[in-house]
């Protein structure tokens, strides 16, 4: 019995299985909304689940050239990183499963672990499409990571804490989207860059480079990367919603706020076309980073002069 409880906590609730299923549900909402915006009917509600089961039941081909340890280890690391990051965010509006001062930074770095793994996987496969996909993935990582981090630092500075739980409690009576609109927009678009959604899907542009870094992956590895991405989606949405949209303090507010955010993201997705990789980098460093830095400066000045 004693060993059973932590196991259930770890696997089923609040982490693990529930998280994966909710992530799949959000992925379905994303695909369905995009389909509706394009005047299509869109996938059925179990589609991401069916995809994952099918991929797990398929043969996994190991290319002759790869390092097998990396080839099998990277998908696991990606999924583990995404799942671990969920421990520190107020998922479902509940108190985070674990928290300590400074967990904001840990969460952000855990969230970029899947992207790093995709990049390494592309390098490991050393096919030409995988390599180009990997370089694009990593280039894009350098483009959005700093502005995204800075955009999440704004609320942290205002709340005077680096602990997600404290910030979440602070934002429950301060709607920071009103005072820091720039930070909100940069965080939202940064999240889209993180998830490689259009217009930032140059790393997996299937019209140019087949499937990017994951070209050689089949079966289980691919499924794990995909699940990792949907977990990343839900954790990212949760972070942005709790920082900018007045905090999360229960399941209804969690569902409502994250789905509103997702709606905005799908609108942008179906509205915009794919950017070239140099345009992506230019956009982030020329506009995103500068705007967020200016806003950070304003926050620091206001905090310094208006106690």
């Amino acid at each position: 019995m004693n060993t059973l409880t932590p196991l259930i906590t770890l696997l089923i609730f609040p982490a693990g299985l529930t998280l994966i299923l909710v992530g799949m549900f959000y992925e379905w909402v994303d695909r369905k909304l995009v389909a509706r915006f394009q005047n299509r009917i869109g996938p059925r509600w179990f589609q991401p689940f069916a995809d994952a089961v099918k991929l797990f039941a398929k043969e996994q081909i190991t290319p002759a050239i790869v390092n097998p340890y990396l080839f099998f280890g990277l998908p696991v690391a990606a999924l583990a990183g995404a799942l671990t990051s969920a421990l520190y965010v107020p998922l479902m509006g509940l108190t985070p499963a674990s928290n300590f001062p400074g967990d904001l930074i840990v969460t952000i770095y855990l969230l970029s672990l899947p992207t790093m793994c995709v990049g390494l996987a592309g390098w490991n496969n050393s096919g030409r499409f995988s390599l180009i996909g990997a370089t694009r993935t990593l280039t894009q990582l350098f483009a959005y990571e700093a502005p995204f981090l800075l955009a999440l630092l704004g609320p942290a500075l205002v709340a005077g804490s680096w602990q997600i739980n404290t910030i979440n409690r602070f934002t429950q009576d301060h709607w920071l989207i009103l005072t820091q609109p720039v930070g909100f927009i940069v965080a939202l678009i940064g999240l889209m860059g993180k998830l490689e959604l259009p217009p930032f899907d140059a790393p997996e542009a299937e019209t140019e480079i087949v499937a990017g870094a994951l070209t050689e992956y089949s079966g289980r590895g691919l499924a794990m990367f995909k699940i990792g991405k949907s977990v990343e989606l839900i954790v990212g949405l949760c972070l942005v919603a709790s920082f900018y949209l007045g905090g999360l303090n229960g399941v209804p507010s969690f569902l409502f706020k994250t789905l509103i955010l997702l709606l905005g993201m799908t609108m942008l997705q179906s509205l915009l076309t794919r950017l070239r990789i140099d345009q992506t980098v230019g956009l982030w460093w020329r506009f995103g980073a500068i705007l967020v830095l200016a806003q950070l400066l304003v926050i620091i000045l206001v905090k310094g002069f208006l106690p």
């Binding site: 389909a35 869109g42 996938p43 069916a50 089961v53 099918k54 992956y217």
Partner: protein, 169 residues
């Protein structure tokens, strides 16, 4: 009792697997020498008007991700080896749909100096969709027939391995 239990779970797992396979079909498209008529019809099948994503059908870029290989056109001597390579790159279980009269019999290109013949002379084909070119409705119907054949319990014949180096040019 234990044995029964095991049987039961095996049945359940098999059911779930078949269900997932039927509801999530990722296709990769290969042009082995078609006149592009069939390719345009395949693209038309993927447009919002026909919206195959509601059946879980998705066009993938990489053969490693795909379940179904859609081949159009007669197999030219140039494309023959590439077609086999693409087929070999796909993970099991894999299926082949040959679209258009040319891929079934060589069609109007039959007898050309550069044309080897039909698709099923090179790789095993599961479903044939005739037409020059077939309409998107016909292509969707072909995929539905493939799904119907997957539902059955009889074991599918495994694709025989082909060694690319040994194929006469």
């Amino acid at each position: 009792m234990n044995k029964n239990n095991e049987q039961f779970w095996k049945q359940i797992i098999k059911k779930v697997r078949t269900w997932a396979r039927l509801n999530s079909i990722w296709a990769v498209h290969f042009n082995s020498g078609s006149c592009n008529g069939c390719d345009i019809e395949i693209l038309a099948t993927l447009t919002p008007r026909y919206d195959v994503e509601r059946f879980g059908i998705k066009l993938e870029g990489s053969p490693r991700h795909a379940d179904v290989l859609i081949v159009t056109g007669p197999v030219t001597r140039q494309a023959r080896e590439r077609l086999i390579r693409t087929y070999e790159q796909m993970p099991e279980p894999k299926f082949v749909i040959s679209v258009g009269s040319c891929s079934i019999s060589g069609g109007v290109f039959e007898g050309c100096y550069n044309v080897g013949g039909s698709v099923d002379e090179v790789i095993p084909v599961d479903v044939y969709i005739p037409g020059c070119p077939p309409r998107p409705e016909a292509i969707i119907d072909g995929i539905v027939q493939l799904l119907a054949s997957l539902k059955g319990d009889e074991p599918r014949k495994m694709a025989r391995p082909v060694n690319v180096e040994e194929i006469p040019a």
